[in-house]
């Protein structure tokens, strides 16, 4: 007997149709922006969100604490010095801005995951990306322009092939 069960060549018909309404509770954008929910937020709005919901763990200067450091570290990635750690942050390492929206939306704030509105998530993403010197102070991010944010390390990844 093989490890994988035999489906006896047929559909079983178990389960039920999932309605678009049910599926609308889920958010998982693709790197090209498909799947981003409607909404928008500015850097300034994001600063408020950050101060209220994120600062305690990620620091006043996004330098990290209980949560990861979020900015800085460009130019530290090329490194083979066993005494120095490369600084991998949203700014230096993350290839896609959609990942930032996605991750904050699902997992942050750590102790109240899923509590922020889409607008707040766009806003705080904009704030972080601004503090990372990636978007302007007056940037507003939304479902149409988030995927176009030019991430410094966007070409930094290649498939491992293992």
């Amino acid at each position: 007997g093989g490890a994988v069960a035999d489906n006896h060549g047929k559909k079983f018909g178990f389960g039920h149709t999932a309605t678009p309404e049910e599926l609308s509770q889920f958010v998982s954008p693709l790197p090209d922006g498909r799947g981003l929910p409607k909404g928008s937020g500015t850097v300034m709005q994001g600063e408020k969100v950050y101060t209220q919901h994120c600062l305690a763990c990620h620091g006043a200067n996004l330098e990290g604490g209980i949560g990861d450091r979020l900015t800085g570290g460009r130019s530290t990635l090329v490194n083979n010095d066993p005494t120095k750690a490369p600084v991998k942050t949203v700014e230096s390492y993350w290839p896609y801005a959609t990942t930032l929206f996605d991750y904050i939306k699902r997992s942050m704030p750590f102790t109240q995951p899923g509590s922020l509105s889409n607008d707040d998530v766009y806003a705080v993403s904009a704030y972080i990306l601004h503090k990372a010197n990636i978007v302007d102070a007056n940037a507003e991010l939304n479902q149409d322009n988030l995927a176009k944010v030019d991430m410094p390390n966007k070409n930094g990844f290649k498939p491992a092939g293992r």
Binding site: A5, Y103, A160
Partner: protein, 401 residues
């Protein structure tokens, strides 16, 4: 289970029972009298999972005490853990799995639906790709629990993912799927559709009972041979797409930064690895003489073909005995006799899998991937482990190439 009093003095997983001077002279504990019908381990056994000291207990991991391991099955209570938002507590009657995206019909399945499908069981290992992350630059943790304890083996039972994907009908062009957990981290990973169809399954059983809470109760994706993080726990949703989702756990984390600043992504396979669990770090060999060296070997690519052991710093290698059952993508127990002459010795094991891949030295891995600074080359350390036996009999973790 019994209430506090009985547990108070006993180690985790045990209950305290009276120890009579001569157990043949006094009746033992009656059937079901103090265990409620679900047994405990002995009060004389103390090994526990060890939590790595991360900043929060909810995003943290605990490691299997491999130095106490026997055979290939890991007791469910000692299976390693890695959570990003703590252990979710899920009522199985309320749990739902959604499958949607590039499918003919988006569907949802409750646990009853899922249990109606033809099932499969498979004994296989899971391993966190961060297993050994402290050991790149210098020997750091002292025991094999610390150096290798992020891998465990269970018999998993569940539904082949192919069965469920067949049920919804994947549209042509569908190439990746997102697996999403129902925990506080809402953990997500992208899985290649080809792997999903080949051998992935949704496990609701572990070692003959329901999968344990910390392993994803009531439902976990198992991706045999791939990094443990892909085996999404508490799975609630699968979305099919034409590209990977580039989630945080496959970009910010679980990627391998190389010295040239580029990073390897989707380094899925847990390549061939082995480790001597006895004797291992912090043990004491009480006298020269015979020892049966033993350990575990495994490969995410299939069967373990051969394990060689060196007791002289890698100069000579002898082939160890592989204990059955030898199963693909599963821990395989090996052992080899050793007469210790009482002099300092370096013990090493080296695994070869069915593809001919040979477990490298840590030095070879560093040459390829760089050390890249403390904890920067984090994942996929499958290098040969070295244990030094001092003339005193003390065993310690060393780097020796």
């Amino acid at each position: 289970a019994k209430t506090g009093a009985a547990h108070a003095k006993a180690p985790p997983g045990a209950i305290e029972r009276t120890v009579f001077p001569d157990p043949t002279k006094a009746q033992g504990v009656g059937v079901g009298v103090d265990d409620g019908g679900y047994g405990f381990r002995s009060q004389f056994e103390t090994e526990v999972r060890w939590r790595f000291g991360t900043k929060t207990t909810e995003s943290s991991w605990s490691m299997t005490p491999l130095e106490k391991s026997q055979g290939i099955i890991t007791p469910s209570g000692l299976h390693y853990e890695r959570h990003h938002g703590g252990i979710a507590t899920i009522d199985p009657t309320k749990h739902m799995l959604y499958i949607h995206g590039m499918v003919d019909e988006a569907k949802k399945f409750n646990m009853q639906d899922i249990r109606r499908f033809p099932f499969m069981s498979r004994i296989c290992f899971l391993e966190c790709s961060g297993n050994g992350l402290t050991e790149w630059i210098k020997p750091t943790l002292k025991t094999v629990q610390g150096t290798h304890g992020l891998t465990s083996t269970s018999e998993w039972t569940g539904v082949p993912l192919s069965t469920l994907l067949n049920e919804v009908g994947v549209k042509s062009g569908g190439k990746w799927l997102l697996a999403e957990g129902g925990d506080a981290a809402v953990m997500t990973r992208s899985i290649p559709l080809e792997k999903a169809m080949a051998d992935c399954f949704l496990a609701y059983g572990q070692n003959g009972e329901a999968i344990r809470p910390e392993q994803g109760y009531p439902l976990r994706l198992v991706v045999p041979g791939y990094e443990g993080n892909m085996c999404i726990k508490w799975i609630r949703r699968i979305e099919i797409s034409d590209t990977p989702f580039m989630t945080r756990e496959e970009t910010s984390k679980y990627t391998d930064l190389m010295p040239d600043g580029s990073a390897l992504q989707f380094s899925f396979t847990m390549e061939a690895k082995s480790v001597i669990t006895y004797p291992s770090g912090e043990m004491l060999l009480q006298r020269p003489g015979f020892y049966e060296i033993t350990g575990l070997a495994w490969s995410g690519k299939g069967l373990v073909k051969k394990v060689e052991v060196s007791v002289d710093s890698g100069k000579n290698w002898r082939e160890a005995k592989l204990h059955g059952p030898i199963l693909p993508m599963c821990h395989t127990r090996f052992s080899i006799p050793w007469e210790w002459d009482g002099k300092e010795a370096i013990l090493q094991s080296r695994c070869t899998d069915e593809t001919g891949y040979v477990q490298p030295t840590i030095k070879e891995l560093v040459a390829q991937r760089g050390t890249n600074g403390p904890l920067a080359s984090i994942y996929h350390l499958n290098g040969i482990q070295s244990w030094k036996v001092a003339a005193t009999g003390e065993v310690s973790n060393v780097h020796h190439y």
